[in-house]
Each structure stands twice: as C-alpha cells, then as structure tokens.
Amino acid sequence: MRLEVDPSACQGHAQCHAAAPDLFTLDDEGYAVVAVDVLTADQLASARAAVAACPERAVALLDDGTRAQR
C-alpha cells in the first residue's frame, strides 16, 4: 500500500502531516509530500487518518496503483 497526494488538489492545509507526521513532509510552502514509498502494516492506521483528515480529499491510499480507499 502507498500514499499519494494530488498536487492540484493540495492546498497546504497540512492536516495529513498533523495526522501522520512520519508519513508526510511539507515543502517550504506547506504543501504535502509523501515521505514513505511502501507502507508497513503498522503505518496503515496513520495513513488512513491522514486520508480522512485532508479537507480537500487530496490524499489517497493506493494498493499497487489502484485506488483502494479515498
């Protein structure tokens, strides 16, 4: 499983980072960058929290390229 941020939707609210600081970094302007390539099992709960936290629904959780969860 991996995380993806839609850069056209990201508005820099940084709620994903607040929910899962290990899984996202923020660029200088506060836009989100996924920090981890492949999620481990114990990161999934945080990843889901980050998906749910995004006010723009810009973060997705993907399973080998297909959209597993929004």
Partner: protein, 397 residues
C-alpha cells in the same frame, strides 16, 4: 419550502432571544428542516447537516465567497477579507504567500512564547482564587500571542483595534465602518514596518512578497492583515471562554483530562467540535442547485452552519456528549475546502496551552450562582465568566 411553525420564516441564529435555547433550537432545526429558508437579513438558506455544509464549502465554483462570508447580507463595499472572500485561483496564490508562516513547522518556535504569555496572564490571578476569565484571560491571550509572536507588533496597538474587532464579530451585519477603520490602521502598520530591518515573518511577506509573480498591493495587504487578525484573535477568545465554561461546569471532564493523556491530546478538537467558535459563514450560489430536495437559486445566500454540522449525529454519534475517544474527529470548526483555516495549527497549540493552564487550577468552578449570559454574533461565548478555584502562589507547571 417548509417552515417550522415555532421558528417562523425569519429565523436568526444570532438572535439574543434564543438565549439558553440556542443549541436545542439548532438541533431541532437540523432534525426537522436541515435546509431552512429564512427571510431574515435579506433572505438566506440555513444549512445544518454535516454532509451539506461539507459539500458546499468544498464546491467553491458553485458557492462563491466573493459576495462576502462574514455576515449574511451581501457585501456591497470594495473591501474583501483576503483570502477568505476571494475564489481560486487567486485564492491559492495568496495562501501560497501566507501558508509558510502558519505551517506546522513554525509552531515549535512559537511555543515557548505562547506558554510564557499564558502563564503570565494566569499568574496575575492565581493567588486570588478567582478571576473574570473573559476579561482577564480569553480576550487577552490570543491577542497578545498574535501581536507579539506572529506579527511582532507592540501590544499597545491592540487597544486601537479591539473596538473594530468586536464590531466585526458581534455586530457583523453593520460592521462596515469598523472594517474601514481597521483597513486604515493596517496601512499605518505597514508604513512603519517598511522602514524597519527585514525579518522572516508574515508582515514582511505581505510587504515584500509576491502573489502570482507580482508585488502585493497596499489594498491587498490591508485586506489580508485584517482577516488574519480577526481569525487569530476573536475565534480564540471565544474558544477559550467556552472551554473554561465547560471545564468549570464539568469537574468530571476536568478530572478525566488531568489523568488521561490520550483524552487530553484529543481534547482540543473535541471541544472545538462541541462549540465551533465561528458558528457559520456564508456563500452565494453561482448557479441553481439542489440541496436536500430544496431548490437554491443562483444568487441566493447560503449560511454554512459549522456549529450545527459539528453536532450532526450522522457524522458524530451522540453529538451532545463530550467524547474524547472519537475516531478521526472531522469537525468543521476550521471549515473545509480551499478556505480551511490557515491558523489551525496555531489554534491547536494555543488551545493545548490554555487547557494546561486551566487544568492546573485546582477545584476550578464557576465563581457565581447567577446564570452565565452569552453574547451572540458570528460567535457565541459568555459575555463574562467569573471563575473560582483554590488559590495558589507561583507559576504554572
């Protein structure tokens, strides 16, 4: 179109007549008429369901902010709070300029000063065992933090802006002159700052930074600083007064938060859900659209009532309960969509600090037997909040 007989068709959520019936009335409207037409303020639709509010605030193309959001009547002046009353793509360019100063990574740098300011205010009354929390703390703390820590401005300037801030929050539909005065004051501030040494903060960004590859104009600067200050001060003042009331009247909750670290970590968001400081903000429909079976016409005003959305049982089971274990608390006190509050990270940090201070006051309770009177405008908060607690000397832990 349906009306609730007891509510009539001129419902005004800011009416002081609602009094202690405020929340029961809002809840009743949500249950019976979640898309309520009111002819007050020139006519608007009151949206109280989570799903409807969530959809509207994200759909900026169908629901524009450019006719004004703070106050229901359409804003006919030249003044717009920027970026809250402009649409994308320009909105995004402004947020790009301002976001870095409110980003999570700035917060650790602000924290020591925020804690010092809070402790300093509480230390003034800690030994007395009593205070009037609104005047002694809630009105002062976010204001000092915002001016000293975020804006790097002398707190003496606060005395000048306070009357305008109060007009904008508590009499939003007639606050035009206050907004104009506020704008003129910002001009003075910027003129002064321009002559000072450069620094990496939001005022300098507004002075020397760019939007869409060109310099920020004087007018834009005035519009930006005004709304940043309103958001940075008044919402916090409301939130902390409401927090103090809850803790003073629910010793069981205070006790839980003192001993349960997980509950305490979730507490800011649960209190914010329970009583959204900015109860509702407006939009204008840019096209005809259906919401909940009602036909909203192009040009109609819509009030996205966050306070009610936060108590929608379809999103928050048992919404009237303060529950610090809610999974993924997606409350709308910071809004959603492109205009989502830029200051949410600062707000949460401040809230945590205030919570720590209040929980450090032993035996915290109301300091009066009289019912607490509330002010209602864009926000709803105690007009005055006498508190009592066991007196203690020295500073907080």
């Amino acid at each position: 179109m349906t009306t609730i007989p007891a509510i009539g068709n001129h419902f005004d959520p800011m009416s002081p007549e609602l009094g202690a019936d405020f929340w029961p009335t809002i809840t009743s409207i949500q249950q019976t008429c979640p898309v309520l037409r009111s002819e007050a303020y020139g006519g608007y639709w009151l949206l109280t369901r989570y799903e409807d509010v969530w959809n509207v605030v994200r759909d900026w193309e169908s629901f524009t902010s450019t006719e004004g959001v703070a106050g229901i009547p359409i804003n006919k002046s030249d003044f717009r709070f920027i970026p809250i009353e402009v649409d994308p793509p320009y909105h995004r360019a402004v947020r790009k300029l301002l976001n870095p100063y409110f980003a999570p990574q700035r917060m650790p740098g602000y924290e020591p000063a925020i804690r010092r300011i809070a402790a300093g205010l509480v230390d003034r009354f800690r030994a007395a065992g009593r205070c009037e929390f609104v005047e002694d703390f809630a009105q002062r703390f976010p204001a000092q933090v915002f001016f000293e820590v975020v804006l790097d401005l002398p707190t003496a300037e606060l005395e000048r802006v306070e009357p305008w801030l109060h007009a904008i929050i508590w009499e939003p539909n007639t606050a035009g002159p206050a907004v104009a005065d506020f704008g003129a004051w910002t001009q003075e501030i910027f003129d002064r700052r321009r002559r000072e040494p450069r620094r990496d903060d939001v005022l300098d960004a507004m002075l020397f930074g760019e939007v869409d590859g060109r310099a920020v104009t004087d007018h834009e600067r005035a519009c930006m600083l005004t709304v940043l200050i309103i958001g940075g001060i008044e919402t916090g003042a409301t939130a902390y007064a409401n927090l103090a009331y809850q803790l003073a009247t629910r010793p069981d909750v205070a006790g839980l938060l003192r001993r349960d670290a997980a509950a305490r970590a979730n507490a800011p968001d649960e209190f914010l859900r329970f009583e959204a400081p900015a109860l509702g903000l407006a939009r204008s429909a840019t096209r005809d659209v259906e919401i909940g079976g009602h036909h909203i016409r192009k040009g109609d005003r819509v009030l996205c009532y966050y306070g009610a959305a936060n108590r929608d049982p379809e999103e928050f089971p048992e919404p009237e309960r303060l529950d610090f274990t809610r999974p993924g608390n997606r409350h709308l006190s910071f809004g959603a969509g492109p205009h989502r509050c830029i200051g949410s990270h600062l707000a949460r940090l401040e809230f945590t600090v205030v919570l720590d201070e209040l929980l450090s006051l032993p035996g915290l309770r109301l300091g009066t037997d009289q019912p607490i009177g509330y002010r209602v405008g864009l926000h709803r908060a105690p007009a005055a909040l006498p508190l009592a607690f066991t007196p203690e000397a020295g500073s907080s832990i």
